[in-house]
C-alpha cells in the first residue's frame, strides 16, 4: 500500500491522481528472475530469514536423499543436520554466478554421506553394508516382498554413481542439469546412469 501527499502549486488533480496510481511498489520492477534459490542463498549470507527459507525449501529433499543412502531415521537426521551446518558455514563461499544452490548443497550432502560410511568402516570394518552391484546376482531372489519396499536396500545393489543419480532424481527432485552439476558430469552421462540404474531396479520394483 502507498500513501501520497502532493505539496505546492502547479499540479492539476489529474496529475496528482496519475502520480499516486503510478507510485505502486511494483510499478518499476521489470523482470522476473529464474534462479531464485541462488539469489536467496546470496541474501542468506546476511539475512537469517533468507537462510531459514532455504532450509524450509531443501530440508525434506536433503533428508529423503540421505535417508535412502543410510537406511535409518536417526543417522539420516544427524547427517542432514551436518549438511545444513556445513552449508551455513560455507555460505560465504557460495557464488550464485557459478553455481545453482541445489547442486551446491547436494555436493555437501553427498560428501557427508561418504564421510559417514568412512567413519563406520573405521569403527566396524566387518560391518560394511555397502554392496557392490553384480549383474549376475538377480536382486529379486534375495528380497522378500516386504523388503522390496525399502528403497535404500534396493539401491545398495547399484553402482555408487547410479545410486546417487537415482536418489537425487527421485528422492531429492533434482533436474538432470542439477544432478550433472552436483556430480561433476555431463547430462548425457547422468541420463545413461539413470537408465542403467532403473533397468537394474525394474525387475524388483515393477510387478509383472
Amino acid at each position: 500500500m502507498s500513501a501520497f501527499d502532493v505539496l505546492a502549486g502547479g499540479n492539476t488533480e489529474e496529475e496528482r491522481m496519475e502520480e499516486a496510481l503510478s507510485a505502486g511498489i511494483l510499478a518499476s520492477c521489470d523482470e522476473a528472475v529464474d534462479d531464485g534459490d541462488a539469489l536467496l542463498a546470496e541474501a542468506a549470507k546476511t539475512d537469517p530469514h533468507a537462510f531459514g527459507e532455504l532450509y524450509e525449501r531443501y530440508y525434506a529433499r536433503v533428508y529423503r536423499y540421505v535417508y535412502h543412502r543410510v537406511g535409518n531415521q536417526a543417522d539420516a537426521e544427524d547427517i542432514s543436520a551436518v549438511v545444513f551446518m556445513k552449508a551455513l558455514e560455507a555460505l560465504p563461499t557460495f557464488r550464485s554466478r557459478q553455481n545453482g544452490f541445489a547442486p551446491w548443497v547436494f555436493r555437501i550432502a553427498r560428501n557427508a554421506v561418504v564421510d559417514y560410511y568412512r567413519r563406520r568402516r573405521k569403527q566396524s570394518p566387518l560391518d560394511d553394508i555397502e554392496h557392490h552391484s553384480s549383474d549376475s546376482d538377480p536382486i529379486g531372489h534375495v528380497l522378500t516382498n516386504e523388503r522390496r519396499a525399502e528403497l535404500h536396500l534396493l539401491v545398495q545393489h547399484l553402482s555408487s554413481d547410479q545410486r546417487d543419480v537415482v536418489l537425487m532424481r527421485y528422492a531429492a527432485d533434482l533436474s538432470f542439469a542439477e544432478i550433472a552439476s552436483a556430480m561433476g558430469k555431463n547430462e548425457p552421462a547422468i541420463r545413461m546412469l539413470l537408465h542403467r540404474g532403473l533397468r537394474k531396479l525394474k525387475a524388483v520394483v515393477v510387478d509383472e
Binding site: S2, A3, F4, D5, V6, L7, A8, G10, N11, E19, A20, A23, I25, L26, A27, S28, C29, D30, E31, A32, V33, G36, L39, E42, A43, K45, T46, D47, P48, H49, F51, G52, Y55, A60, Y63, R64, Y67, H68, Q73, F84, M85, L88, E89, P92, S96, R97, A149, L151, L154, R169, Y170, A171, R191, H195, L198, R199, L201, K202, V205, V206
Partner: protein
Amino acid sequence: MNDRDIDGEVWAAADRVRDLAQRVTIDPGRQARLRMELLRRHSELVVEGGRWGTAWRSRRGRHLKRLGMAAPPAMLLAIAASVMLWILPAVSGHQTPQAAEASLITRALTRTAPTVTGWQWTLHEQRGESTRVVRLQSQLTGDQALYVHYGQAYLYSGGKWQIVSTGQPLTPRVADWQWGFTWLPSRLAKHDFTLLPDRVIDTRRVVGIQYTIAPSSAAQIVFTAWVDRSSGLVMRLTRVEVSRQRVVARDVADYRYVRNR
C-alpha cells in the same frame, strides 16, 4: 518431474522408484529444532561479528590504530577524512579510493537492504522558473524484501524475485524516483564516479558519489548521490540537466527509511 524423455522400457520402474523415494516420514519437531539451532548459529556468523567478519575487522583495526593526531577539531576531521581516503585502498586491497569506497558502500547496502520495510521520499522538481514538490511513501508488505547483489537491486515478493529497474532512467518520472536509491549499486560496480567531500544531511555524515551521463554532445546529466556509509543508503539524490551550458532542470530527492530487524 517428467521422465518421459528417458527410455520407455523403464517408465514403470521410474514411477515406482519415485513413489518409494518420496515415502519417507520426517519428524517435524526435529526439523523445527534444527532450524532454530541453525538460525542461532547464523546470527553468530553474520558479517559484523563472528568468524565471517573477523578477517576484515582485524585488518581495518590495525591500520586505524595509527591515526592519532593532535590538531584543532575541524582540521583533525579534515585530515582524518583525507587519510581515510588515502588508506582505504591499503586497508581494503583496492587500487583506487573509488574502488575502495564502492566496496564499502556496496557491502553496507547488501547488509542493510533487507532491513528496509518502507521509505518516504520528497522530490523537488525545478524546471526553469517553476518548482514542484512531491512527497510520496512506499511500504513493503510482510512477504516482501529488498536485496542487493552484484550491482543489482532485487525485490523478493511472495516467493518470487524481480529485478528493480534494469537501468537508470535519464529523465525519471515521479514514479521512477521511488526506486532512485536502488540506482547506485550498478554505478558503484563500474567504479565510474567522482567522490565528493563528506557533508551532513539530516544529522548523518554522508559521502558524495557523482557521475555524469551525456545523452548528446550538447547535453549532460549529472547525478549526485549522498550516501550514508554505515548503511549504504542514499539520503539525497540530485539530478542536474545541462543543455548548451545552461541548467534546464534540477531535481532533488530526499529519502527517509523505515527499518526493522
